[in-house]
Symmetry: C2
Subunit: 330 residues, 2 copies
């Protein structure tokens, strides 16, 4: 590249990090461009840094005019919000896998423990006066002892491995479901549809740590839920769309000892809904938090730093990390 490429960023969030990019790119912040300026710039943009969700102003029609676009760096760990089907084949997309892992892995463990020990349910009961103190023995019996039990991890990447390592310190056994075979002495890794069912059958608690893609959307439906133990715990810190919501709701209603705990919610028109069309939040065997797991990691600055470093690799002509396969997303 004889002159600095044009970089479009979708947020001023990483302002302090952008300075590192200036020697390698001309940086334009989409939030500071009016419609006319954006229109003029579209055919000139070489690469993008998409901090959070895809900006609404970049409609499919406008994307079609970004003929020079070659690289998109996602600020989020997932890339399911990137409009692959409107991007030319020459556009390479990198995820920010690993950027949020510390926050997300700790949050996954928190949801496993909150669910196993019924902490949110018991605190809610005490707060709203909705349970009888004489019911002590009954409540006690609901509390699950984790030592010696089995945790299944769906998706054995950075977050899945970290969660596995943490729960082994609690005396739990770990099994994993992963596309990539990676034999390990401490963890049995299963693959394929039968492998998924094996992990679900064996596990007392399951953590979903998969990317959302064509391969994983709706992966956990009624059949998979039915394969799980009646009093199992299912934790989702990945993407809501991996679980079939209707199947989940019906399963929770029918199995009152089964607990689903989620930090993630369905995305509609590019925005997370923090709600469901099913009355999940009326159920005492459901735990919901508003996608805060990665937030504490974002405060450390690490995710922004990692995203900018990877973008720098691209700008310097090095191979960027975490390039995704578009065929899994279109």
């Amino acid at each position: 590249m004889s002159e600095r490429p044009n970089l479009l960023v979708t947020s001023s969030f990483v302002k302090e990090r952008l300075e590192a990019l200036l020697p390698y790119a001309k940086v334009y912040n989409i939030e500071k461009l009016d419609s006319k300026a954006l229109e003029d710039l579209l055919p000139l943009i070489d690469c993008m840094l998409v901090q959070t969700w895809w900006p609404e102003s970049l409609t499919p029609e406008r994307i079609s005019r970004m003929s020079r676009l070659r690289f998109i760096q996602s600020g989020m760990a997932g890339v399911n919000h990137i409009p692959f089907k409107h991007l030319g084949k020459r556009v390479m997309v990198s995820s920010n896998a690993g950027g949020f892992s510390v926050g997300v892995e700790e949050f996954a463990l928190a949801l496993v423990l909150t669910a196993a020990k019924r902490v949110a349910k018991l605190d809610y009961g005490m707060r709203t006066g909705g349970f009888d103190p004489e019911d002590w023995a009954h409540l006690s019996r609901e509390v699950v002892l984790l030592r010696g039990r089995t945790l299944g991890v769906l998706g054995y990447g950075g977050i899945g491995r970290a969660v596995g390592s943490m729960v082994r310190a609690l005396g739990m056994n770990v099994v994993a479901f992963s596309r990539h075979a990676s034999p390990e002495s401490a963890v049995q890794v299963f693959q394929g549809d039968e492998g998924l069912l094996s992990v679900l059958r064996k596990s007392d608690a399951v953590v979903i740590a998969l990317p959302l893609s064509k391969l994983t959307v709706g992966l956990i439906g009624s059949a998979e839920l039915s394969a799980m133990k009646d009093d199992a715990i299912l934790v989702n810190v990945a993407r809501a769309e991996i679980v079939d919501e209707e199947g989940l709701y019906r399963h929770l209603v029918r199995h009152d000892r089964f607990v689903y705990a989620t930090d993630v919610w369905k995305i509609k028109r590019g925005k997370e809904t923090y709600s469901s069309r099913f009355p999940l939040l009326k159920l005492s065997n459901f735990i919901g938090t508003p996608h805060v797991a990665g937030g504490s990691a974002a405060l450390t600055g690490d995710p922004g730093k990692l995203a900018v470093e990877n973008l720098l690799r691209y700008l310097r002509g090095e191979a960027p990390h975490n390039v995704v396969d578009p065929s899994e997303y279109v």
Copy 2:
């Protein structure tokens, strides 16, 4: 002992375990004795197995007539419910320390994580519709990242050590407050009043795992709470009376980022109250559960087994474990 000693048990809970005692003792269940039979038996009782709380029917006046009583085995880990001041000096009391440790240590970790990640608060907020989804960034900032932070353990016995070992797997540092110096490479152990304040000052989260005794009642008052960080987490899985409730309530009202999470409640007339004279349950920085931590351990049968095994040691003329110092309780 030429003939089998008379053993009074306060519950039929360990029925299946009692058979192991029959070759060594004549076993009487207080629940199956009418008032007259109990009165007749009092002067003949040699030892007791007190499964949970002290039975109301054993009044101080009746205790004074138990002239042959020499040993009491507590089924609970704590012995603060044993009426030491009415017992003769020749009565030896053993706690059931360690009996519930797996359940309690897991529960302590669950409370640390639920508090750090604000899970109960966020779930309650979503359930009651009391927060604005636009507040996402604010909620995210409240979520505490634990890796690299410091956990303080007050009382470095079985439960304290286990909690320390589990949180080290999360990348936390551990400091401890303990009467007994026990140098360890991974954990700095502090002693005395100044040592307690040091642990409280250094820690981002503190777990109370001390027995309730003369030495620990009211140990954590306003001065100790003020020594802690404004956004620290304090977890109590020991006994409510170790924390001064009025000082705690005032501290929570004044420090909305400070979180207190407890499984234990004040005991009145031999019964746990599961409530407070302060409106703690109205505060969003308070988490309360109804003393369920040990329940899941009790279901394993381990605590009953340990208590009976220790009682057998006494009956066989061996030295029982976990004999407590009455001067710490009178």
